[in-house]
């Protein structure tokens, strides 16, 4: 392990539970003549059995890097952190960790409900290996960071979950660990505290600390992480620059979303949030590319056509159709309506209409469509949310800064001039 590498993971396999139990199972299976190929006994790699929480994970992390870990629920993200923290042993393979580790795992579990926030802080400090004197020196800073005020001296059983996270987080970032393992802690805590945590993370990163960051918020990962690991049911499906890993994840998520959409069979397309029993029923929403072919992936700056198939119970004259575009985590980006389109939107019987965005200003990611059809008298007569999803990729000729976002801006630069 070179000086610069602080974490090295080589062919890590992890299965929970006592080895004895698995061994007994293998013996029993063998006795029952169930064959050897598909068992999960020691020394044998199972073909596809889901009993392994992690399968053959390998990566290394340099000092000062921030690594993201993303994946669906149950992908093994937390297990990976626990193995790195040394809380649970690897079943196979090697894990090497250099430096002081502070795992921010289950921070909201607290430590002892009857003790006050202050006493819990001392306990956490002791666990981290800080002497009482060190702890007393750091206490004002920690107390300040928690922003708990008088709550700091109350038993933590009276705390809200956000307060518990504040407490744990404040200790974690103030104890000078070399490696921080962050497990989904920013999900709790209010917006000002999240902001503060991010600032602290950035400062720690600049200070040469190593961060492993598990999150479901791709936006947070994109913002913070240099490189990102994508896990899927224990497999390491991608590890590389955050941009690449995230787009890999988006792609698989896209497939998954589409898969869910088609799960009821091709004939009846399930439009997730479709308004029930509406005057104007949405039969289908499709995306078309420049050639008019159905597509799922579009390029930033290129055209996107939305085609809606509807079935109206009655003739609706001068209907107003509104579209909204949202990110996969339901962040509303923008919307537009057919008002002032220059023609009458008359809906009757079954039909189709299209709307084209000539130059898509969105960056990489999955976006979903919401829609609302209004009667000229103002009542809503159709629509829905999460109707369909499309994927956007940034073409290589668009130069972006390393921090990704949502919206494309096309700046014009001026050369420096001497004054």
């Amino acid at each position: 392990m070179s000086d610069d590498i602080v974490i090295e993971v080589n062919h890590l396999w992890k299965r929970y539970g006592l080895p004895l139990y698995h061994w007994l199972r293998r013996v029993r299976n063998r006795a029952a003549m169930k064959g050897v190929g598909d068992d999960n006994g020691d020394g044998v790699i199972p073909s596809s059995n889901a009993i392994w929480a992690l399968k053959d994970i390998s990566f290394s992390v340099r000092r000062g890097e921030t690594i993201g870990v993303i994946g669906y629920n149950g992908a093994g993200k937390s297990t990976l952190l626990k193995v790195l923290a040394g809380v649970t042993p690897p079943t196979r393979g090697q894990v090497m960790v250099a430096g002081r580790v502070f795992p921010m795992i289950e921070l909201n579990a607290g430590v002892h409900p009857e003790l006050t926030g202050r006493e819990n802080v001392f306990l956490l400090g002791a666990i981290m290996g800080l002497s009482r004197r060190d702890m007393e020196a750091k206490l004002p800073e920690i107390e300040d960071f928690t922003e708990l005020g008088e709550w700091f001296n109350r038993p933590i059983r009276t705390y809200s979950s956000g307060m518990l996270v504040r407490l744990g987080f404040s200790v974690a970032v103030n104890v000078d660990a070399d490696i921080l393992l962050v497990d989904e802690v920013l999900a709790v805590g209010d917006i000002t505290f999240q902001r503060k945590c991010f600032d602290k993370f950035e400062r720690m990163r600049n200070g040469g600390k190593t961060l492993i960051f598990v999150s479901h918020s791709i936006r947070q990962v994109e913002r913070l992480c240099d490189r990102t690991i994508v896990l899927d049911r224990g497999n390491q499906v991608a590890f590389g620059k955050t941009i690449d890993s995230v787009s890999h994840y988006y792609q698989s998520a896209n497939l998954k979303i589409l898969h869910q959409r088609f799960s009821e069979g091709q004939e009846i397309r399930v439009l997730q949030g479709r308004m029930e029993d509406a005057t104007v029923d949405i039969v289908d929403v499709r995306f078309l590319d420049a050639a008019g072919q159905e597509a799922l992936t579009f390029r930033t700056g290129g055209p996107l056509t939305i085609e809606v198939t509807y079935r109206s119970k009655e003739l609706v004259r001068s209907a107003i159709v509104g579209f909204g575009i949202e990110t996969i985590d339901s962040f509303y980006i923008s919307g537009f309506t057919s008002e002032g389109a220059g023609f009458e939107m008359n809906l009757d019987g079954e039909g189709k209409f299209r709307c084209t965005i000539p130059s898509l200003p969105l960056l990489s990611g999955i976006y979903t469509i919401r829609m609302r059809i209004r009667h000229p008298n103002g009542s809503i007569i159709g629509g829905g949310y999460g109707l369909a999803a499309f994927n956007v990729q940034v073409p290589n000729d668009i130069r972006l800064s390393s921090d990704y976002g949502v919206i494309l801006m096309e700046p014009e630069w001026e050369a420096p001039t001497a004054s």
Binding site: A85, T88, Q94, V95, G110, I127, G129
Partner: protein
Amino acid sequence: MELSTEGKRILSQGTYVHPVDNGAEVRRLVDLIRALVMREWKGRYRRSILGPGWAIIQPLFYMVIFTFLRGTLKIPSDGVPYIIFTYSALVPWTFFSNATTKCGPSVLSNRGLVKKMSIAREVFPLAAVFTTLIDFFIASLILVGMMIWFRVPVNWSLLWFFPLLLLTALLALGVGLGIAAVGTYKQDITFGLPFLMQFWLLATPIMYPLSQVPERWRFLYGLNPMVGIIEGFRNILVKGTPPDLHLLLITTVVVVVVWAISWPFFHHMSQYFADVM
């Protein structure tokens, strides 16, 4: 590391390497145990009225029961007042019994830490024993009062107090490690332990003197490691004589054997504690 996907065999066991500075690690453990003991102590009595008074109530309660029983059963007490005869044995016994019993759930009740931190899991039973030690010292205050009241002869044999206490703590921790190792997985042993302790109490010369045990059972009886300890405490605290070294030797051997089994066992099992929580 040899890995061939074709043969589907992985040869090496999993390893986790995390070099730490040993001196700092020891200091960390000491600080941690102190913090755990403080926390346990403060947390335990924070929501009670009698608080640390409970440390005294338990041995006193047994003392009262035994005194009543003695009235009907005519139990001799080696010529010393029965109250101090039995209380001097009940205080170390209560320490041993509570320390051992508290080891059982000590890991489970710290699951918040176990799941979060990589620390030697031994600290939890150890902290349980230390916490009970505080109770022991509180209960000893009454004992000191009795010793003054009954004018117990005080001499150099009292110096045996701390070696005896150490031996008791080691025995409690040794047994406790084994119980914690199993009890963390299956709690039956934690539930069953109080019964076992009742039985053990009766198999130890606490309410009756060792001299009452029939001669032919004496050797088997002496294999109970608590016999040497309890007799030792009673000798130095009540009779002013040094402990029976022969009995203490048996106790020491038993302690060594218990540790030789329970510690490696605990250590092995403790790796997987976090997996079952």
